[in-house]
């Protein structure tokens, strides 16, 4: 078991594929066909393309605040890929690759960042909660989903995401602790991207690793190279299997880096050195898998360029549609507060509609 072989208290980190896309720990390589790796890779590419496009659109004043994912695609995509269709995915707010992997459409995701609540309305068969802005609070939802699944005798697990910053808020510790006590089939994935906005990981906690925070709840924790698709997949798969088999929760720290800004409102040059970014760019998770796939003869630079372009065009097309239709109906702002609209809301809505009508005339 990986969780027994890699002790975060000893600073051990699971790595399987190195920065050049070479397999450095063949014995640990997860059961993932190269075809499947290619599938995941395409989700990573789409993630990056959607990110790139969103940033362009934001700069043009067409997209609102947006939280970029570049640099974290492996951690996101691989962790979600380890889930089954009926498993629950509980996002924080920076897991684009995971959401796409889970089956949310780019339309829906862009609509969310465009500032419309329908962007959190996923299809029935996509078992994913909406984005959770209050840091850390979503992890207890993951515990609850897992508990309900266990209670009903189903085998579905829940996976909750959180950032390095999110490990400092009480909800994080409470969720891990509840999961431990109730042996909930839940996996917690920390995307440690080294920053909470401008606050460096070292100021977030004095703990040498975030994975070791599992010790407080008496549950297993493991540190993985978050830019290594295979390592993340292997660790999360094991955790999912353990959870499904009734062996309880796991905490996984995916050690990665946010190459871009915190959000489009953020200017990272205010708080970090360029050379740090350059160093991490060399560890780019997308590049790694590309090199691996090319080495396996499954992919080429040409295909890669073409696919990226195709995805960017697709993303633009998706966004154009949203620009046309993405404004909300006034009624929708009122209709979903309760199952049935109470009288006072009916009144507020109808008064407002009357006002709008008067204004048009």
């Amino acid at each position: 078991m990986l969780i027994e072989r890699f002790d975060p208290l000893k600073g051990e980190m699971l790595r399987i594929m190195d920065e050049e896309g070479q397999i450095i720990a063949p014995d640990l390589k997860p059961d993932l066909s190269d075809e499947r790796v290619l599938e995941l890779y395409k989700v990573m590419l789409l993630t990056r393309a959607a990110d790139t496009k969103a940033l362009q659109l934001q700069r043009q004043g067409r997209m609102l605040t947006y939280a970029p994912n570049t640099g974290q695609e492996a951690a996101q995509t691989a962790s979600a890929a380890a889930l089954g269709e009926n498993d629950w995915l509980v996002p924080a707010f920076r897991e684009l690759g995971a959401w796409l992997m889970k089956g949310v459409s780019l339309e829906t995701i862009y609509l969310y960042w465009y500032g419309n609540e329908w962007g959190s309305h996923f299809p029935e068969n996509v078992r994913m909660l909406p984005i959770s802005i209050p840091i850390g609070s979503q992890l207890n939802h993951a515990v609850g989903l897992a508990m309900a699944s266990k209670y009903k005798g189903e085998r579905d697990v829940a996976l909750g995401y959180v950032g390095d910053g999110g490990t400092s808020i009480g909800d994080f510790s409470e969720a891990l602790n509840f999961a431990g006590v109730f042996d909930a089939p839940v996996i917690f994935v920390i995307q440690n991207n080294q920053y909470a906005i401008s606050v460096k990981r070292q100021i977030q906690t004095r703990a040498a690793t975030l994975a070791q925070k599992a010790v407080a709840a008496g549950i297993p924790g493991i540190l993985v190279d978050g830019n290594d698709l295979l390592a993340v997949y292997a660790a999360v798969s094991e955790a999912v299997e353990r959870a499904r088999a009734g062996q309880g929760p796991t905490l996984i720290e995916a050690y990665t880096y946010r190459l871009g800004a915190h959000t489009t409102s953020d200017d990272p040059t205010k708080y970090r050195e360029d050379n740090e970014v350059v160093e991490w760019r060399a560890k780019d998770p997308v590049k790694r898998v590309k090199q691996y796939l090319i080495a396996q003869g499954l992919w080429s630079e040409e295909q890669d360029a073409a696919q990226s372009t195709e995805y960017e065009e697709y993303a633009l097309e998706v966004f154009r549609k949203i620009e046309e239709t993405g404004d909300p109906q006034v009624e929708d702002l009122f209709k979903y507060t309760y199952k049935e609209m109470p009288e006072h809301l009916e009144e507020q809505l109808s008064e407002y509609l009357q006002y709008l009508e008067g204004k048009v005339k």
Binding site: E117, H121, F122, G144, A148, D171, N177, F178, H344
Partner: protein
């Protein structure tokens, strides 16, 4: 029919609904083995097992957060917060998620969950055990907030709450947990959330109140009746959404309005009802709508708390003033 006090009614009702619907699970601090510090859940773990009625670690935020996840995944959780003063650590979950999940997802997800808690003062308890939370919960769109005043109502309202597809905060006036017994039917009945009840008809003045204060107010009304003042007393029963019709109809009849509550005065629940009456029945008013409320202080420790509460004398005096205006 059984003669039950409020706390045994809660217990009976949870038992009833757990028996009927196995999606109902009940949890909180000391809820399982002990059966609750007030004994609201006594016997339920034995009867339904530890996966349906269980103790949690001490963390109100996680209790409510877990309930959110359970409700999304098909259960109907009923979480207990041990005292209303310990709701605050769960306030982020309640405001940011419980109240908003339906709207946030445009109806894709909804939260059929209940958060029960003892509410208000009067049991001579330690600090933080006597809080009144109407305003800070009632102000949040997406929540329903209920306060029963009798065992009979408690069963009907709690069944409605558990069966509601929206989240309901169920505030139980701990002062009257064991104050009196009432016939409570053993069978199924519900009382609609969002409907107030005229508990005493009258012509002279409309008095709205809820929870433990219904009884104090009825006592005051009795005193006043002896003086020839017939007050109409309304038990609000639901803090949010407010039953505006019942209140407004009454005020249009009486022309006078008093609201009586234990909570602090300023930005308190009574303010809303007065604003409402102004909006809907201003021209009917023959006297200033008036609040009889707790003071704007932290509710005192037990040796001083009686000063904070309104007894029937003070309530009667307040109503008298409005009638004689």
């Amino acid at each position: 029919m059984a003669l039950l006090n409020l706390i045994s009614t809660i217990n009976h009702t949870l038992d009833y609904e757990m028996g009927r619907d196995d999606r109902v699970v009940v949890f909180g601090e000391d809820v399982g083995v002990e059966g609750g510090v007030f004994r609201a859940t006594v016997g339920l773990q034995e009867k339904y097992g530890a996966d349906r009625c269980f103790d949690t670690p001490l963390a109100e935020g996680a209790i409510v957060g877990m309930a959110v996840g359970m409700a999304i995944n098909g259960l109907r959780p009923v979480a207990e917060i041990q005292f209303s003063g310990f709701m605050y650590p769960a306030y982020n979950q309640i405001v940011s998620h419980v109240a908003r999940m339906r709207n946030r997802t445009r109806g894709r997800l909804h939260l059929p969950l209940v958060i029960r808690m003892p509410h208000g003062g009067g049991i001579r308890a330690l600090e933080h055990h006597s809080e009144s939370l109407e305003t800070i919960l009632g102000h949040i769109p997406g929540l329903k907030v209920v306060v029963p005043s009798t065992p009979y109502d408690a069963k009907g309202l709690l069944l409605s709450a558990i069966r509601d597809d929206d989240p309901v905060i169920f505030l139980e006036p701990s002062k009257i947990y064991r104050a009196f017994r009432q016939e409570v039917p053993e069978g199924d009945y519900t009382i609609p959330i969002g409907k107030a009840k005229v508990v005493q008809e009258g012509e002279a003045v409309t008095v709205v109140t809820w929870g433990a204060y219904v009884h104090e107010t009825l006592k005051a009304a009795e005193q006043l009746a002896n003086e020839g003042i017939d007050a109409e007393v309304i038990d609000l029963r639901t803090i949010s959404p407010i039953d505006r019709d019942t209140i407004i109809k009454s005020v249009k009849k009486t022309g006078r309005f008093v609201v009586v509550h234990e909570a602090m005065k300023t930005y308190g629940p009574g303010a809303e009802l007065i604003a409402l009456v102004n909006e809907k029945a201003f021209l009917y008013l023959e006297a200033p709508p008036t609040r009889l409320t707790g003071f704007d202080i932290t509710i005192p420790l037990p040796r001083g708390e009686h000063h904070y509460f309104l007894d029937s004398d003070r309530i009667a005096a307040g109503i008298r003033k409005v009638v004689n205006f």
